[in-house]
Symmetry: C2
């Protein structure tokens, strides 16, 4: 925004532009939109930012984001505490919960190994996972990181730590997406689908 623009608007646009996936043009549009909102709505928005940052923390057990000390999933006695699904981020928990099929617990690593970016195992919540398992009662750990180089490397690394402890470690199945068209599947996915074929 040029000099003639009101400074508070320029600052607000810069804040929006600092968020991921929002360019300077969209950020300006959002800043103008805020001007058209009711004062109360803007105050609610500002409060929501502060509230989320101040009141949401990591669950003392699974490291998922929650406003309690122990999240609702970990404190749900009806869930199967012998299975832990290890994911990269809280949004992966949301994705699994949407399936309504998984009844075990989770563990959120808050990242994937990426030595190039300086993300070494001590930057992830691996220590916390090992501490949970040391308490006993866990029979299976499902490595549910993304099927990417970093996701695979992280799954391999964690599996390597858990196997000596006598824990069953599994990995999500890779194959054709349901509803997908074979012709458009990439080679690696098709190879995985072939390799992991099931008896009918």
């Amino acid at each position: 925004m040029a000099d003639h623009n009101a400074l508070p608007l320029v600052i607000l646009a810069e804040k929006f532009a600092s968020l991921p996936g929002i360019g300077m043009k969209s950020a300006q549009r959002l800043a103008y939109y805020v001007m058209s909102m009711e004062t109360e709505a803007v105050e609610d928005f500002a409060k929501a930012l502060i509230d989320a940052k101040n009141n949401v923390k990591q669950c003392g057990c699974c490291c998922n984001l929650t406003e309690r000390d122990i999240c609702p999933i970990c404190s749900d006695s009806e869930r199967d505490s012998s299975v832990i699904c290890v994911v990269e981020s809280p949004k992966d928990v949301t994705a699994f919960e949407r399936t309504r099929e998984y009844n075990g617990l989770y563990h959120v690593l808050h990242g994937l190994l990426s030595p190039m970016d300086g993300i070494t195992p001590d930057r992830l919540r691996v220590k916390e996972l090992l501490a949970r398992i040391a308490k006993g009662g866990v029979e299976e750990v499902i490595m549910a990181t993304n099927p990417t180089v970093e996701g695979d490397a992280t799954a391999m690394y964690v599996a390597g730590l858990l196997k000596p402890l006598g824990i069953k470690v599994s990995r999500l199945a890779f194959g054709l997406p349901v509803g997908g068209i074979l012709e458009y599947a990439d080679e690696v996915t098709l190879y995985k689908a072939l390799e992991n074929r099931n008896n009918m």
Copy 2:
């Protein structure tokens, strides 16, 4: 976001999703991103929202958004106050200022006529424009609304009010965009370019 998500995060995601052009998925991603920001940065963001809403108002002369009573453009004595460029919104002022070629003043209507959406002339800053012109000194008004049905209708309406006052009213030229390819121009643009052709 499902029930297992921390409520403050759900609320924050909803606030982001209420902004134009941000869907629920992006809103969730932004909410998670806020969690990863430094507390101070989040507080700055919240402050920027409130500051923009509280400290930015409409210029008492041209109705553009500004933190002063009269905006820097209207108070700049080196600008030509005999020409007023009438635009729909503050971001159009930014667009013209970027050309660095226009030295007159502006008038921001804050909308376009759209009877279907209940936007009648009294909802726009037309009264303020007429008051400015009544003070004298204005020789030309350039109608710089978008070349859309609403933009054209608004330009026609305002022109109809100004012409009886003996003010010269002009409209932006429509034609081929510079650097554009004739083959890809739509019929109406091409017709306008033909109709408004200039001698070489």
